[in-house]
Symmetry: C2
Amino acid sequence: MNVRQTQRPMPRPTAAVEAIPPTTPFVGPEELMRSVGRSDFVRLGANESSFGIAPGALAAMIAELPRLSWYGDPESLDLRDALAAKHRCLPSQVLVGAGIDDVMGLAVRAFVGAGGVAVATRGTYPTFAYHVTGYGGTIASVDYRADGAVDLDGLVERAATVLPSLVYCANPDNPGGRFHGREAMARFARALPPETLLLLDEAYADFVDEGELPDPEIDDRIVRLRTFSKAYGMAGARIGYALASERNASIFQKIRLQYGVNRNAQIGALASMRDATFHRWVLEQTAAARDDYYALARRLGLGYIESRTNFVCFDLETVERANAAVALLLERGVWIRKPGLPPLDRFVRVSAGTPPMREAFADAFAGVLETL
Amino acid sequence: MNVRQTQRPMPRPTAAVEAIPPTTPFVGPEELMRSVGRSDFVRLGANESSFGIAPGALAAMIAELPRLSWYGDPESLDLRDALAAKHRCLPSQVLVGAGIDDVMGLAVRAFVGAGGVAVATRGTYPTFAYHVTGYGGTIASVDYRADGAVDLDGLVERAATVLPSLVYCANPDNPGGRFHGREAMARFARALPPETLLLLDEAYADFVDEGELPDPEIDDRIVRLRTFSKAYGMAGARIGYALASERNASIFQKIRLQYGVNRNAQIGALASMRDATFHRWVLEQTAAARDDYYALARRLGLGYIESRTNFVCFDLETVERANAAVALLLERGVWIRKPGLPPLDRFVRVSAGTPPMREAFADAFAGVLETL
């Protein structure tokens, strides 16, 4: 006999929010440190910049900290002027938010929403799926190519069938690290259905020459996401932006958190952009770190994915070995992450560290491989 | 003859987002400065703390700025431990976000949502309405009492009729500045329908003795919002939190921006909490500023609202005079704001300034009143 319980009246979330499964895209290193009783790690797990922030940004932020009692400019006027000049577009085509995750959430909320469908690569940056699920949409996914690159043709095919409101593509890609050049991306964008928005996540684009990126031309069919978290070394500041048509920017403007960006982040970002010497140095150091990792992989007899980012994926050949390597490295005080889904889940992903961090990783990694 | 145009296929926002009217809850002073060609204002418009941030917080943030290349802890573990100790609750009952606006958005998204109804005071903190509209809900509103206080009985009556999913109440209130004590608030909370969540915005609660606030007991029917933006002088940092039941916190956890809080804001907030001497000094200075404003109002022959916050509303008797006063003060380099809706729209709202800021305001205000 089925007895239907009478529910006691109490505040309840909406059915849409109730249906969302609890998920954590990324467990933070602080929680991991608590769990293993450590007070620090060699931090190579989140593709943070190991090369710090620009001296000019540091000086500007220290000078302005006493005025942190003021709200930041809700329109980020000065920063948007500078970004518009950099990207040869209008300030009204730049929307600043609290990191790419924030702006990505706006795009999903505005263009996918409840019941909407997005197309994306299976196993790409998980916060995209977090947003789609959180706003009640679903993802039609396409596998990575065998070489670990995003399958642009596969995304086009899937989009032609599904006619999604949005296609998500990270380029350079995370967690794979592969990059498609401007011609391939232009063909890809043209081949998508006309009703589909291309959400192009360029978090790692600062590691690529601007000339290899898509044209600055911005129309209603593309939103590009950029960040100060990676090459500019300001992950903790939470500041990123979208390059979008005026129409799309005005849509995001209606739903964004108006006072969502830290004032000092705005000041640091602006100062960062002016520190070209530091920026070049970071790119050189990052390239050196990648080369070091490739050499290490060869020395250890491991495969790896050529990367255009500030991280490298090492091939551990099986998911089990890759999982074990992450856990054992953690015990040795080295924090890395790994892709969660096939075919990349047999890889571990290691951020570009400073020379001492690379050495610490190389030692620990060699030791771990011996025990696997 | 009606000709139905064929729409060219192109990416379109969801119908829900398309239906949202463009609104700006608060135009920032930076935009106003550009519009009048000034490079600074006496900033008395946003209830920012004119007394700056705690020396301990400043020192801690300067020391940690070089590590801004690291993401902040997505779980704010250390800060939540400290907040839980302060509020005599569990860390799992504290949810940290990028200011009250952020956490308020989560509450509206989770409990109001598309087609939902909230009850609130007409003319209260406009970002609440911004969120409700943005997530597709509507507001059933209740007028302020004649004395400028939130009408708790009116909210209860309206809630009894409407059975809203959420009732919003700011206490102390903004923009009025009035406060209801713990007995009145306890009666109010008990009188709401059992299916209604009370969203209690305590942005200004740090200006009131903890003993006058509701009991620390937290259940599924109340979410309290607190911030470091006001008494702690960290508005530009964007950091605030919700005190919520574990069930409600876990609901917000499913939809919040996991890496949404600035790392340095977390560090500064924690250090702020430890600087009791500074905190007491800010409260003394704020009380002195209020007394100064009351004396000024009497000297100028104006009414005012007794405030328990860091701002005071001056009665200009008509909406036209109040609007004109704001515009004329701006021309004289003094930036204030005013309530937008009756009955408070005949008032201007002035933040607690330092003695020189108060003097600059008093001079300009007296001059403006002569021209009205």
